[in-house]
């Protein structure tokens, strides 16, 4: 059954077959693009020896919409909503990254109040994104309940989004030069209530998983990624931090108002799936900390900087990256002096992190592949763009 009917039979050129006592045939298993736990339309071709994974090949592009090409035919402002469709789980972060990159190109800075609103919204978004990760990751490993708890609490964040900008998922919350919407009446109260209520809920998630023997067994020592491998592969975000590298753009290259807040960068030791789980859980706690500080000191004032009606940046190029929930999200924009960007290149964290999959699952079991895909926290909309 292993040979033959593939459209690319020579796809996996692997010389890793181990000498075994019983000579067994290797099996090529096609996982996806329609599969319950490839988080969308990822296709992974697994070469298996029984249950053991000898090699993987990721095939992507099933969700390719040509976002970068679209940018070349839109004005700077018109392209803004498109970026929300990349990492649709964390749309606010995408918008923030793009707006900042263009602001850098225009050499303007958002007013302080706008910066605070941006921080509040992105941190809420980070929590929402991590909740989706937690739920689906636990579901992949077989725990059915956390996903419902996580989505129940994510609903509160989406309600705040909806009240703020009218959309729940693809928010288009920010504009180039600041924010277009002033906070609604009761926004501060909503955020405060959320922070207060969310921490016990977080304990509830942890109660179900952190000390659960099966959960620990399934995640400890699975998909280990050493710090040097992370750096070599360009892996960023919680995956990198779980390997022990203290790298968070919010601290290392502070953007917006992040330099004004006290928060820690949670790091792991072993770089395994369990550490990545702990790091993300801790990150949610840190986000709550940032939210509480930001809501206390939010200044008053204008929310929009002086930006020309027709955005026409001077000839030049810019690269700007932010710490999205999944890692470093970078925008490289080249301007030819017209109203439309000459080229927009996105550096999506999911795409880069996905490269680590093969290294992480080598020699592991099929069940671990699912766990590792979950722990990488990929969103295919962002991988394929």
């Amino acid at each position: 059954m292993s040979d033959g009917k593939f459209n690319r039979p020579d796809l996996l050129d692997l010389d890793t077959k181990e000498e075994t006592f019983l000579d067994t045939t290797e099996m090529v298993l096609n996982m996806g693009p329609q599969h319950p736990s490839t988080h969308g339309v990822l296709r992974v071709i697994l070469k298996l020896d029984g249950e053991k994974v000898l090699g993987t090949e990721c095939i992507i592009g099933y969700l390719h919409r040509g976002v970068e090409k679209i940018a070349e035919n839109r004005t700077y402002a018109m392209f803004n909503p498109y970026v929300d469709r990349m990492d649709y789980v964390a749309a606010v972060s995408n918008g923030l990254g793009y707006c900042e990159a263009v602001e850098k190109l225009l050499a303007v800075e958002a007013p302080p109040r706008a910066q605070y609103i941006r921080v509040l919204m992105t941190e809420l978004c980070r929590i929402a994104s991590h909740q989706v990760w937690l739920g689906t990751h636990a579901l992949d490993i077989g725990a059915l309940t956390p996903v419902f708890y996580a989505f129940r609490d994510r609903e509160e964040i989406l309600k705040i989004f909806e009240k703020y900008c009218g959309a729940r998922l693809t928010t288009h919350a920010f504009r180039i030069g600041g924010c277009i919407y002033e906070t609604y009446e009761g926004f501060e109260q909503d955020v405060k209530v959320f922070c207060e209520k969310f921490l016990p809920k977080l304990d509830e998630y942890e109660e179900l998983l952190t000390t659960n023997r099966i959960w620990v067994g399934r995640t400890k020592g699975v998909g280990i990624l050493a710090a040097e491998d992370c750096i070599a592969l360009g892996v960023t975000g919680p995956v990198l931090r779980a390997s022990g590298v203290e790298w968070d753009l919010r601290k290392k290259q502070p953007y917006e108002a992040y330099s004004k807040f006290q928060f820690d960068i949670p790091t792991g030791l072993n770089g395994d799936t369990y550490d990545r789980y702990l790091v993300r859980i801790q990150e949610m706690r840190q986000s709550v900390r940032i939210l509480q500080q930001a809501i206390e000191d939010i200044p008053s004032g204008p929310i929009m900087a002086k930006v020309p009606k027709v955005i026409k940046p001077a000839l030049g190029e810019v690269y700007h990256s932010i710490e999205a929930p999944k890692g470093e999200l970078g925008y490289y924009i080249v301007s030819d002096g017209s109203t439309q960007p000459y080229r927009v290149r996105v550096r999506p964290p999911s795409f880069v992190n996905l490269q680590a999959l093969d290294k992480m699952v080598h020699g592991m079991l099929v069940a671990d592949v699912v766990a590792v895909i979950g722990t990488l926290d990929i969103v295919l909309g962002e991988v394929d763009r």
Binding site: M1, M27, L29, N30, H35, P36, S37, E51, A138, L139, D140, I141, G142, A143, L144, T145, F148, Y149, R152, L208, L209, N212, I214, W215, G217, R218, L365, V366, A367, D368, V369, V370
Partner: protein
């Protein structure tokens, strides 16, 4: 006919023992119908209980509180297209669900729902049950293999390894329970299902409490092994949805799939029945030692009827709380009818003649229901084991512990004889 009924009702043995083919057939039909109904009820309960544990409502649309959902599901499955993959081995593919089904249902022949409420009483009852229920794995393997597809193949291989390795620990746990039947002051060891419960009645102890904690340990081992045996969470690897799509059932659809589904739930009921019979006193009522005497006997015999009446009362309360708008008319009437049915059953169960004979079935069912609840509870709580971890638990933990329990039980059981042999003093 009437004579036959009165003669049967007067008898004190199972139809199989009495040699009555007619009554045995009736019993088999009743059990098949009852088990199928129980499976339908379980699918509804599972969805409801799981939903409530996961802060959602579960089925609410078909009938009051989704009570008719299982019927709707069954209808849907029956009307679905029956797909057989092109490369499949057609005969084996068709045969596999039947094998699984038959294995799951056949074991109920010897399950004693009460002293006289079993199709027959075999002197090798438990052995028969273990043997036939292991046949189910054959259907799973052939079903996965015949599909000629990767995911089912892996699912069936996992399933084969899992079922075979957990059967060992399961068998050893059962042996230590069987051993306990010979440790009383009256009677000798027996493999008969009815005999085992009778031994617990005679020894005035459920085997789960016997030789504490040995009985409890054997029971716990069995309780773990039986979850693995029936492929349920956290040991649901053969059908691990997130890894193998639907495991060995991936290529099945429509009615054939529903046979697998039915078999899974029937197997859950069957292994729970074994656990109840061996360790929890089968049809015996709880607290026979603390709350003994005819007054207590009478009080306990009222429980089944009262419980049904209580459920009926809950239904009627629900009727009162239903929104009084035309859209809810059918639902309200349905709920009221369901309540009336429950009330009728409750009243019948309070009739003196029926009361004594029916309460056996009630206690047995209640204990089995407890296990079913646990099954659902585990599913809501635990992540899934990985294949190697599953094997590790089976071979490195359960097997040695069950062997140890068996040996210690045997030694404790014959301690007096052993002591006599050592010291040379005979009793």
């Amino acid at each position: 006919m009437l004579d036959a009924i009165t003669k049967y009702l007067g008898s004190n043995v199972t139809p199989g023992e009495a040699g009555s083919m007619f009554w045995a057939t009736i019993y088999i039909l009743l059990i098949t119908a009852g088990v199928s109904l129980a499976v339908l009820a379980m699918t509804w309960l599972e969805r409801k209980i799981l939903a409530h544990m996961q802060v959602r409502m579960g089925p609410m649309r078909v009938g009051p509180h989704g009570l008719l959902q299982p019927f709707a599901d069954a209808l849907k499955l029956l009307t679905k297209e029956d797909v057989i993959p092109e490369g499949a081995d057609k005969i084996v593919f068709r045969l596999a669900p039947v094998i699984v089904m038959m294995a799951a249902f056949t074991v109920f022949i010897v399950v004693p729902f009460g002293r006289t409420h079993a199709a027959t009483d075999m002197n090798i009852g438990i052995l028969f049950m273990l043997g036939v229920s292991s046949l189910g794995v054959l259907g799973v393997i052939t079903g996965g293999w015949a599909s000629n597809s990767h995911y089912p193949l892996m699912g069936s291989l996992r399933s084969a390894a899992q079922m075979v390795s957990y059967e060992v620990a399961m068998g050893l746990a059962i042996i230590s329970a069987v051993l306990m039947t010979s440790l009383g002051t009256v009677g000798t060891g027996t493999l008969s299902m009815i005999g085992i419960v009778q031994a617990q009645a005679d020894q005035h102890v459920w085997f789960v409490f016997k030789l504490f904690p040995l009985g409890l340990m054997a029971f716990v081992i069995f309780a773990i092994a039986m979850i693995a045996e029936t492929n349920r969470a956290p040991f649901d690897l053969p059908e691990a949805e997130s890894e193998l799509v639907a495991g060995f059932m991936t290529e099945y659809s429509g009615f054939r799939w529903s046979l697998f589904f039915l078999a899974e739930y029937t197997a859950m009921l069957a292994v729970s029945s074994i656990a109840v019979t061996l360790w929890l006193g089968g049809w015996l009522r709880p607290f026979p030692n603390f709350l003994s005497g005819s007054a207590w006997d009478f009080a306990f015999s009222l429980v089944p009827g009262l419980m049904f009446l209580g459920l009926a009362a809950a239904c009627f309360l629900g009727v009162l709380r239903m929104p009084k708008i035309p859209q809810f008319k059918v639902q309200t009437i349905g709920l009221a009818a369901f309540g009336a049915l429950l009330a009728f059953i409750g009243l019948v169960l309070l009739v003196p003649g029926v009361r004594e004979r029916a309460q056996d079935i009630f206690w047995f069912t209640a204990k089995v229901a407890f296990f079913q609840y646990c099954y659902i509870w585990y599913r809501a709580t635990f992540p899934r084991y990985r294949f190697d971890q599953l094997m590790k638990v089976g071979w490195k933990v359960l097997l040695p512990v069950s062997l140890g329990v068996l040996i210690v039980t045997a030694i404790v059981g014959v301690r007096q004889e052993l002591w006599a042999a050592i010291t040379g003093v005979t009793r």
